[in-house]
């Protein structure tokens, strides 16, 4: 077997590779510096902070080990915020997805004015959550001058105090959030529907398939990668609800809309308990991460790829 010699050609290639690596690192430097400083390193730093009792100004924080995590499990407000967040996610995601899919199917019927409808449904998505929350705050006004109560009154139904009522406050936030996020899901579903080759529909028509069975046996399975994608990002996004709660209820009344990120904001940036807030951020991260993995495992395996 001939021994491969290290030749001048190899040396040149090696030099070129080193030079190119150096150039590449120069190009990567600005973005990498920002990402490492503000997105990557903080994950580790947050873990360190979560082991402290610290107000961020004091020069000597107290090291408390996992005490913050232990305290979380016993903190009834944190448990409440978790339950409320889950309530919010369950209230928002399935309804939003079902309505969005229905609208997307209607839009996919080769109708006139598609672009116009799409723009209108998308409008709430691009407006700031805190600004539209102000509008909805007045839609939910507790007396007859509120838009919603005005409508109920005209229909002869009793009016409600909405955001002031612990029973209604969360459904109100859910309704506003569905309205705000619907257009995004519509656009993604519509793109997914348009991706399905028309051959499948033609073949089904020849076989005499009609409305519901076309949806059940063709659209639904072929759309499943899109549905799965929308499900994952909706769940992740909903767990992070904040602006609506901050503007409309501040977690009230009677903590009925206290959600995790709002509680985290309160602990970290009103009470300045940085260690405890970091422990909470980690808990939230782990919950979102686990849920994503579970969805991938149990739902992802049933996704049908064309």
């Amino acid at each position: 077997m001939p021994v491969r010699r290290f030749t001048a050609k190899d040396a040149a290639r090696r030099r070129r590779y080193l030079k190119e690596t150096f150039t590449a690192y120069l190009y990567l430097l600005p973005a990498t510096a920002v990402l490492v400083t503000f997105h990557f390193a903080p994950v580790f730093y947050a873990f360190y902070v979560s082991l402290l009792d610290w107000n961020y100004i004091s020069p000597n924080p107290t090291f408390v080990g996992f005490a913050n995590y232990a305290a979380l499990l016993k903190d009834s407000d944190f448990i409440t915020s978790l339950i409320n967040t889950v309530y919010y996610v369950i209230g928002t995601v399935p309804t939003s997805m079902a309505v969005a899919l229905f609208v997307a199917i209607l839009l996919n019927q080769k109708i006139r004015g598609l672009a116009w409808y799409r723009t209108v449904y998308f409008l709430p998505v691009i407006t700031a959550a805190n600004a539209v929350a102000i509008i909805w705050f007045w839609i939910y006004h507790p007396d007859y001058s509120g838009l919603l109560n005005g409508l109920l009154d005209r229909l002869g139904l009793p009016i409600q105090s909405w955001l002031l009522d612990p029973k209604w406050a969360m459904p109100c936030i859910i309704l506003m959030s569905i309205w705000k996020g619907l257009g995004y899901n519509v656009v993604i579903f519509l793109a997914g529907l348009q991706n399905i080759s028309s051959e499948y529909y033609e073949a089904a028509q020849i076989d005499g398939a009609k409305g519901w069975s076309i949806f059940r046996y063709i659209t639904w399975p072929l759309l499943s990668p899109t549905t799965f994608f929308v499900l994952i990002i909706s769940v992740i996004g909903s767990f992070q609800v904040f602006s609506q709660v901050y503007v409309m209820t501040r977690g009230g009344p009677l903590k009925s809309t206290l959600v995790v990120v709002y509680y985290l904001y309160k602990i970290g940036f009103e009470d300045f308990k940085m260690g405890y807030a970091s422990a909470m951020a980690y808990a939230l991260f782990m919950i979102i991460f686990t849920l994503t993995l579970l969805q991938r495992k149990y739902i992802g395996s049933r996704v049908y790829y064309q």
Binding site: E20, Y27, I111, L147, W179, A277
Partner: protein
């Protein structure tokens, strides 16, 4: 065989079938219009309230069209709080963030797409990994860091953390990879430098991607709330969204002014959106499905 069957399906044009088709189309439009009304009603309500006289806000039943258009609500709202400053801050922060982020992302994406270097796959995978991290995770550490740097309540705090975007880098890299390598060789023969190739060939060829990434960043920055809320504490630095929420705390009981202020905060993005809605929605549809 199949084509024959198809043409038979398509040429059924009995009067009954046509009527059924028109009826079906009417039904679809009725449903979509009902939905569109629900989508637009809150905005209409906002604009209507912003133009009402204060006394008319609480009339029962609700009046959608004000008996007199009170444009002065806008002037009053504008004068009640430093909205000019808020607007300037938002516009400045969003513009600088967008430009800076596009430049940083293009440089990084260029390296990933065209260069062969040590650790390329590992670094790229790490980049993608940061997309999994929710923003709330970084709130406390970043706040502490900015506090140490004395950057709280400065433009740096509002801009610098958002200059890196894995999402943009990922999209640009995808696009850059589709540009044939032969083009680079040809440009090199013509004496084009490495950076010149990015600036004069790659960027112009990738305009759709730059528009998409730029729009996402600009709108995201304009609408950002939690981060500016945390890192600003004077009117000098507040963005429009934070300013709006401060305004609400102070004038929460005057819906006419509040709605005028909300309209002002929402309108720039809405108007801009009408001009670019096609690119924006196509961008979402494309990227949404790819990730």
């Amino acid at each position: 065989m199949r084509h024959q069957a198809m043409s038979r399906v398509k040429t059924q044009h009995s009067p009954g079938a046509t009527a059924a088709r028109i009826l079906r189309s009417l039904g679809i439009h009725a449903l979509l219009l009902a939905g569109a009304t629900i989508m637009l009603a809150p905005f209409a309500w906002m604009i209507s309230t912003s133009l009402k006289d204060y006394s008319e806000v609480f009339t029962v039943p609700i009046r959608w069209i004000p008996s007199r258009l009170v444009w002065s609500n806008y002037v009053d709202a504008w004068n009640e709080a430093p909205f000019a400053r808020y607007f300037f801050n938002s516009a400045f922060v969003a513009t600088v963030t967008t430009i800076g982020q596009l430049v940083f992302s293009a440089l990084a994406a260029y390296a990933f797409a065209t260069m062969n270097f040590f650790g390329r796959e590992v670094i790229f995978t790490l980049f993608l990994g940061t997309m999994m991290i929710p923003d709330q995770m970084t709130l406390v550490p970043n706040y502490v860091l900015l506090f140490r740097l004395n950057w709280i309540d400065t433009y740096y705090a509002l801009i610098v953390p958002w200059l890196g975007s894995v999402f943009s880098i990922f999209l640009m890299r995808q696009f850059f990879q589709t540009i044939p390598k032969e083009l680079y060789d040809a440009a090199q023969i013509d004496g084009c430098s490495r950076f010149g190739y990015l600036w004069r060939v790659m960027v112009p060829l990738s305009r759709p991607v730059f528009i998409t990434c730029g729009l996402f960043t600009f709108i995201g920055s304009w609408n950002a709330f939690l981060w500016p809320l945390i890192v600003t504490n004077t009117d000098r630095m507040r963005t429009i969204q934070v300013g709006l929420s401060t305004f609400m705390q102070e004038h929460g009981t005057v819906p006419t002014l509040l709605m005028a202020a909300s309209t002002m905060a929402i309108m720039p993005v809405v108007i801009g959106f009408f001009f670019v809605q096609r690119q924006f929605i196509q961008g979402i549809a494309r990227t949404g499905l790819k990730s």
